[in-house]
Structure formats: structure tokens, C-alpha cells
């Protein structure tokens, strides 16, 4: 396999797919060098939005008002803008590895709330700690207003413990369902987390009055544990490293985990004291990552698909929302994972409707086809208002592709640039179908295949 194919595979997993400016570079660079470059380009910068934010004090003021409409409106607009800003980083930023990793953590520590400032805070926790220490990440998330709010830990009080957070902490965030812990451990650890809350400005508070300081038995150990002790005890378990490693492997390498590789990776991850970058180095610098069975073995999620298209095919949008609406109708909206378990993966993305829409989107972008789809209503956001249709045609929400800036690509082997693997039969069929049409048309055709859904 040549370097170009390997690099394309690497950037489709360690980032959001090949960028139209990188084609020549990827032909010559070794994957090791490219990975090094991705690592070097991973500085953390806070996302900037062009929509004015408010201070926590101002937010508090709005939330006290009798009329909820201004607050809802602010949340909607700010969330939208914040999503846009992150999305554009995914497309344009050289810090691909960091954004991809943050995107993974967003699905792992999933929250679905409307509070704009809480959302901003937790996404920045993901972006900041994306490649750092998993230990720091668990602590930051567990103390974030978004997570405490979403899992109702402000209601977790000494007199009446609420198990929601401690249950998901173990089941979804660290150990995996029923792995190592019992219902009793959930109850005991819920007591340890009593008092973890946030104040009206969204800052973490450890409310001693609500905390149950009594003795707990957790994972076979006794003590007057608090939340910090519980997280530390969980992190001491090699099973935690294994659970996280497996999930990372399935997200970045292959839905079907190679147990032997996962085991050995997880031991290294554990020994590194949960250093995420160490784990990612092990994956992306390995030989097996580039093996045939791991290439083209994942179905792109809607965000990966749309961001990927925009990286290879630059465009202008009459209405910037159009692109997020594409993701929404395909089932994935940033800041809106379906539940605390995050987005389902793989074949869950594909049904007769979403497949047809996925295959149609490139033609819609190019102006060859029109789109008219009604998304499922989101009443948590709309508050009773009707959902707007997603319409793209010659008059409304038009999209203009910058064909000029990808002229250099159009005359190359489009199949090898766009598809994860070569497939001679498909190639011949498409070439035949496009025999009397332009190279632009050919590019759109290749992107309108089931194979293009793979990475």
C-alpha cells in the first residue's frame, strides 16, 4: 500500500478526512511524519463565536425572568453559533487530532441540555483535555455544571441520594455495564457524591451540609469516601483502562475490536497513568492500524460525512444553517447527543431514508438536485414551534462549490482521493455512467455511492 492511501486512512480517523490542499503533501510524506505533524499541530485554543456571549451573572438575570422566551432564544442562538464555530474548526483547523478526539469525548461523556454556558464549558473541557490525561478529564467532567445538571446530581443529597450520576459514571464513563461493580456499589458511591453541585453562576460547589460523610463500602473497600475517592478508586482498576481503550479502538480503528490488541494497548494506557496521547501514539504508529481490514471499515457518522465533504470540496452557503440541518436529518447534531450513552454507531446510521439522503447530498450541493425534507421536531429546543423544513434548490439556501480551488484535484485519480479502497468494478460502472459528463460530475458521482459512506 502506498503512502497516499495510508495517509488518507490516517487523516480519516485521526481527523475529519483529507483536505483539498493536502493532496500533494500526502503523496510524499510517510504516515509517521504525518502523524508527527498532526501531533505538533495540536495547540489548544478556546473556540471563538461571533455571537456575543453573556456573563454568568447576566445569564442568571435572564433565567430569573418570568418570561422564559428571551432565555430560550439566547440559548438557541448561542448553541447554534457555538456549534458552527466548532464545526468550522473541524473543517479548517490544522489541529485535526485534537478536534477529532474532542468529538469522541463529546459522544462518550454525552450531555443533552439547552443551557448555553454549560454547553460551552463542557465542550471546552473536551477540547482542552482531549489529548491529555483521562484522569483530569473524568474529574473535570464530573465537576462540570453540564454533567451535574444533566444527571441531576444537584438533587443528590444526604437525606435522599440520587444515583443517576454514580450509575452512569461506572456504566458508561469508566467501567462498562455491570463490569466489576454491583447495584450496591452504585448506591454507596451515590452517597459519596452527595453535595457535589454547582452554584447559581454554574461554578462547582462541594456542599458539605448535603454531604453524607459516613462510611461507605465501594468495590470491596471501606472508608469515609467522597466523590474524589470514588473516582480515584475506579481509576485504580485496570478494567477502567480496558473499557476506555476498547471504546477508543472501536471509534478510531474498527467497530470489531481485536481483543488481543486492545488488551495490550490498555496495559500501556494504564501504565502511562491514563495518558491519552500515549494511547493514540500506540494506535496511529502501529502497523496493524494500516492493515487492509481496518481501512474502509467504519461508516462515517453524519458529522464525519459532512465535515469530510467540506474538507475536500470547499463551498459557500447562502444559509449557513443548511449544513447543520443536513447533519440533523441524518441523525447527529453537535451538542445534542440522543442521551447520556452518546450516539449509536455503525449500521445504526443507515436506513432507507438516511442512505438516500446521504447519497443525494453531494448532488444537492453541486446544484444537480434539490432537497426538501422535514426533520423530526425537537421540542426540547423548539418549545412548541414547528420545525422548519430543510430545503435546498436553485432559489433557496443555494450552495456554491468553489470548483476553481479544486481544479488540481479534478484532473487526478478521483477514485483514490475520495474512496477508502479501490474497487475496479465500481470504478468501471461509474466511469461508464459518466462517459459523456464532466470531471465535476464524476466527482459528485463517486461521492454519491455507498462506498463514500465508509472511511
Amino acid at each position: 500500500m502506498n503512502n497516499f492511501l495510508k495517509n488518507k486512512h490516517l487523516i480519516s480517523r485521526a481527523g475529519f478526512g483529507i483536505h483539498h490542499n493536502d493532496i500533494e503533501k500526502y503523496k510524499n510524506l510517510s504516515p509517521k511524519k504525518l502523524y508527527q505533524e498532526l501531533k505538533n499541530n495540536s495547540e489548544y485554543k478556546v473556540l471563538l463565536t461571533d455571537f456575543p456571549t453573556v456573563t454568568p451573572e447576566q445569564y442568571l438575570e435572564m433565567s430569573k425572568a418570568q418570561d422564559r422566551k428571551p432565555l430560550n432564544q439566547f440559548n438557541n442562538l448561542y448553541n447554534k453559533n457555538f456549534r458552527k464555530s466548532w464545526h468550522s474548526q473541524m473543517i479548517n483547523s490544522p489541529y485535526q487530532l485534537r478536534e477529532k478526539m474532542a468529538f469522541f469525548w463529546h459522544g462518550h461523556f454525552a450531555t443533552r441540555i439547552q443551557h448555553a454556558l454549560f454547553n460551552k464549558e463542557i465542550i471546552e473541557i473536551f477540547r482542552k483535555n482531549a489529548l491529555g490525561s483521562f484522569r483530569d478529564l473524568v474529574f473535570d467532567v464530573s465537576k462540570s455544571s453540564a454533567m451535574l445538571n444533566f444527571l441531576n446530581n444537584q438533587q443528590n443529597k444526604k437525606a435522599k441520594p440520587n444515583e443517576n450520576f454514580s450509575r452512569e459514571l461506572m456504566e458508561l464513563f469508566t467501567l462498562g455495564r455491570g463490569n466489576l461493580y454491583t447495584e450496591k456499589d452504585i448506591k454507596e458511591s451515590a452517597r459519596a457524591f452527595t453535595g457535589w453541585s454547582y452554584n447559581e453562576l454554574g461554578e462547582f460547589t462541594d456542599n458539605k451540609k448535603q454531604h453524607d460523610a459516613g462510611e461507605k463500602v465501594f468495590l470491596g473497600r471501606n472508608g469515609n469516601f467522597d466523590g474524589t475517592d470514588i473516582i480515584n478508586i475506579i481509576l485504580e482498576q485496570p478494567e477502567c483502562a480496558e473499557f476506555i481503550t476498547k471504546k477508543i479502538y472501536q471509534f478510531f480503528v474498527n467497530d470489531i475490536a481485536d481483543e488481543k490488541i486492545v488488551k495490550s494497548l490498555s496495559q500501556k494506557f494504564y501504565k502511562s497513568n491514563y495518558d491519552i496521547l500515549t494511547l493514540m501514539d500506540e494506535i496511529f504508529l502501529s502497523d496493524w492500524f494500516y492493515s487492509n481490514e481496518n481501512i474502509g471499515s467504519k461508516i462515517k457518522s453524519p458529522v464525519e460525512l459532512i465535515v469530510g465533504i467540506r474538507r475536500i470540496m470547499p463551498m459557500d452557503l447562502q444559509n449557513k444553517d443548511t449544513i447543520y440541518n443536513f447533519e440533523k436529518i441524518l441523525g447527529q447534531e453537535l451538542l445534542q447527543p440522543p442521551n447520556v450513552a452518546g450516539w449509536p454507531t455503525g449500521l445504526a446510521w443507515i436506513d432507507s431514508s438516511t442512505l438516500l439522503i446521504r447519497m443525494k447530498i453531494p448532488s444537492v450541493m453541486a446544484g444537480y438536485k434539490t432537497l426538501d425534507i422535514e426533520p423530526k421536531p425537537n421540542d426540547d429546543v423548539n418549545m412548541g414551534k414547528e420545525e422548519n423544513k430543510v430545503i435546498v434548490n436553485q432559489k433557496q439556501n443555494t450552495i456554491t462549490i468553489h470548483w476553481d480551488s479544486i481544479n488540481n484535484i479534478l484532473n487526478q485519480d478521483l477514485f483514490s482521493i475520495l474512496l477508502p479502497k479501490s474497487n475496479e468494478k465500481l470504478q468501471n460502472t461509474i466511469l461508464q455512467f459518466n462517459s459523456d459528463k464532466s470531471r465535476k460530475h464524476l466527482m459528485i458521482s463517486i461521492m454519491s455511492t455507498p462506498e463514500y459512506q465508509l472511511c
Binding site: 442521551n339 432507507s352 431514508s353 455512467f433 455507498p450
Partner: protein, 396 residues
């Protein structure tokens, strides 16, 4: 009917292409793939959280009138069902159905540890999960898996919508969604797609997608032809739900053999000025159902059809300051059919003296309703589909 479908496939423009789909074609010609007991289930989802207390109104309950001083519906305005209960005045036809013994109402349906997020609670209802469980398949999708385990024949279940709901996604089989058959046809019957599906595929993920594509194209042609063949002569309302019921009616009258139809209307998220918006929605439902039921009766099908309604939650007992209601918990479900064994109010109205933080405490678990429908209407293994024994009701 089976012959019809086989003939259709032979004659379809895809006949040549389908040579490359041995499994897919074989499935379509297997009798069990489309065998059914003749019963049809139509799920009508009231999206947004319908206010149940202003739907079936406790007309003699002081607590109701006290907690809802602006939005309560008085006894003289409600359409009385019993001494205690009235139905919303904009559900006139449902009152008629009640009088005819063609409506059953199960009050106070919900689940333990209710969730008040629209999305999450809808997922719980659609996947039939517990409040703390996360299941990525829907209860009707799993019914498809069971009823249709060896086939790839998604016309067994149809959602009248652009997009497919979780409820209709199984682990192996998924229903097909379309707003109208013509649109589906236009979207899927592309020469390019027909060209590429003829190539073989060795990769699992790719072949899954090619199978989905192939069956969508094939089914869309079939559905489109069928929907044209028996287009209904009844005049349906021009509202979206009117159109949706018309689509369902024409498909029922064709020989498509679909067992489950799914449609939704909203938004019932009535935080502000509730009565006006709820009234508008009810009128649209009432008028569409009226024509549909008449249509089905004239075609002798109403005894084999059941419309079941649900909403992700009810609303709080007390109204809010904006003459609306906020998210609540338990709610009633309607069952409309000519083939009910029990009719009318199946159980007592919610107890307003026993609330939890101002919310109703559910007495009926929605999974028991699903179990009943799966077992007694769709003739399937509810324990397997729902993962546990939920017991049954005896209204069907």
C-alpha cells in the same frame, strides 16, 4: 397476494438487476415473508407531550378546576362520556366512536422514574426501554425482526414521514419511511443507483448499504404502483395528517400487506396559550380520522384496523402563568377500532389527590400495552420483543 408481488418483481425494471440479489429476491418470494393475520396497526404519535387532562376531562373534579383556573374545560363544554369524564369538545368524532363502542381509552399510562425531556422520554416510549436503559432499537423494529427474520421486506412496516423513527428500527430489519409514495419513488429510482447496485460487494458494511439501497428502489417502485392502483375516492382534509391518512388508506386498499403504519402530529408542547393550539391539533386529527374510519368501514376493513395514540408524556396538573402547562408524566392512550373486545374508559381517571411533586403517578405501564398489542393484535412473541413479560390487557 403473494403471486401479485412476485409478478410485480418479475415485471419490474429491476428484474435484471435483482439477479445479483439472490438473498433479497428469495426473501420476497418466501410466503412467510409477507404472511399476516390480516390485522393492521396504525400508531399515531402526538409529538410534544399532549395534555391528557384537557383531553379526557375530569369534569367533576374540584382539584382540576382549582389548579387550572384559566384553562380548565367546564362540564357544559366537554362532550360527556360518563358522569365523571368528558372528552375535549374538538374531538367530536371520537365522541361518536365512543358512543359506537369503537373507542377505548386507557388512562394514566406511563413508566417508573419518568423523564421530562421530550427527546429522552420519546426514546423510552419508542424503544420500550426502562428509564435507566439505553436501547438503540425500537419496539416495532424488533417486531419486524421477529415477524420477518429471514426477509428484507420493509413494506411490512411503513412510516408516513421523510425520516424513520427509532420505534421502527430493528436490530436486523428497518421499516421504510416516506411522506408520499411519489416522492420516495423520485428520490430512489435513479439510473445511477440502478447501475451501481448491480455490482457485487464483498465488504459487509458496503453490502448492507447496497441491500438497503436495492430494497428501497425495489419497494419504492412497488409502493408507488400500488398506491396509484387503489387511490381512494374519499375526500380527505388537505391538512398534513389528512394527507397522511389518505396515503395509508390507499395502501391498505392495495394488496401491499403492510401491518404497521406509523404517523405523527404536533407540536403538543403547549407551554403558552394551550387551549388554542391543542384545539387546532385536535380538530385536524378528528377530521382526518373521521374520513379515514368512514373509508375503512365502507371497504369492510375497520374491524381489522386499530389506531393507537400515544404521547411522550402528559403535562403537569396545575397550569402555568402563561395559560399553558409544563412537562408532566402519565397520560391516556386511545384505541380506535371496529374490533375492540372492551370499549369506553378501561380504567379510572387519574387520582388528582395523590400526586408526586405536582405530577400524576402512573398506574398503567406502557409496555403492558405494547405486549397486548404485539400478542393479541399482531400475533407475535411480545416477551422476546420487549425482553420481559409485561402481562396483558383484555381490550383486544
Amino acid at each position: 397476494m403473494i403471486i401479485n408481488r412476485r409478478n410485480f418483481i418479475k415485471s419490474s425494471s429491476l428484474a435484471a438487476a435483482s439477479f445479483f440479489f439472490p438473498n433479497f429476491l428469495e426473501a420476497l418470494t418466501l410466503p412467510e415473508a409477507i404472511e399476516m393475520n390480516g390485522k393492521i396497526l396504525i400508531i399515531l404519535q402526538l409529538t410534544g407531550g399532549n395534555d391528557g387532562l384537557n383531553t379526557i376531562i375530569p369534569v367533576k373534579n374540584d382539584i382540576y378546576f382549582k389548579l387550572r383556573n384559566k384553562i380548565s374545560i367546564k362540564e357544559e363544554n366537554a362532550l360527556l362520556l360518563t358522569d365523571e369524564a368528558g372528552i375535549n369538545p374538538d374531538l367530536k368524532f371520537l365522541k361518536q366512536l365512543y358512543d359506537n363502542g369503537e373507542l377505548a381509552v386507557l388512562n394514566n399510562v406511563g413508566y417508573p422514574d419518568p423523564n421530562k425531556s421530550h427527546f429522552r422520554s420519546m426514546d423510552i416510549w419508542q424503544s420500550a426501554s426502562g428509564s435507566n436503559e439505553f436501547i438503540n432499537s425500537g419496539w416495532l423494529g424488533r417486531y419486524l425482526d421477529e415477524a420477518c427474520h429471514s426477509c428484507q421486506n420493509p413494506t411490512q412496516a411503513i412510516e408516513v414521514d421523510d425520516l424513520l423513527s427509532l420505534a421502527m428500527k430493528g436490530n436486523n430489519n428497518k421499516a421504510i419511511a416516506f411522506k408520499d409514495p411519489k416522492k420516495l419513488y423520485d428520490y430512489s429510482v435513479e439510473n445511477f443507483y440502478k447501475k451501481i447496485i448491480t455490482d457485487g460487494h464483498d465488504h459487509d458494511l458496503a453490502s448492507y448499504m447496497y441491500n438497503t439501497l436495492g430494497s428501497t428502489i425495489n419497494n419504492s417502485e412497488y409502493i408507488f404502483e400500488e398506491s396509484k392502483s387503489k387511490s381512494t375516492d374519499k375526500v380527505y382534509p388537505t391538512t398534513q395528517i389528512g394527507k397522511d391518512f389518505k396515503t395509508i388508506a390507499s395502501l391498505i386498499k392495495s394488496d401491499i400487506n403492510t401491518q404497521v403504519y406509523y404517523l405523527s402530529i404536533g407540536s403538543f408542547d403547549t407551554h403558552y396559550n394551550q387551549n388554542k393550539s391543542q384545539s387546532n391539533l385536535f380538530k385536524m386529527i378528528d377530521q382526518a380520522v373521521k374520513v379515514f374510519v368512514k373509508d375503512m368501514k365502507e371497504n369492510g376493513k375497520f374491524n381489522d384496523i386499530m389506531i393507537m395514540t400515544f404521547s411522550e408524556f402528559g403535562r403537569r396538573v396545575a397550569q402555568n402563568a402563561s395559560n399553558g402547562t409544563d412537562h408532566g408524566t402519565a397520560n391516556q392512550m386511545f384505541f380506535i377500532s371496529g374490533g375492540l373486545k372492551k370499549k369506553g374508559l378501561l380504567n379510572p381517571l387519574p387520582d388528582l389527590t395523590n400526586l408526586k411533586d405536582g405530577d400524576l403517578i402512573y398506574t398503567e405501564d406502557f409496555r403492558k400495552v405494547y405486549a397486548t398489542v404485539l400478542k393479541r393484535w399482531l400475533n407475535s412473541d411480545d416477551n422476546k420483543i420487549l425482553g420481559k413479560d409485561n402481562g396483558y390487557y383484555d381490550f383486544i
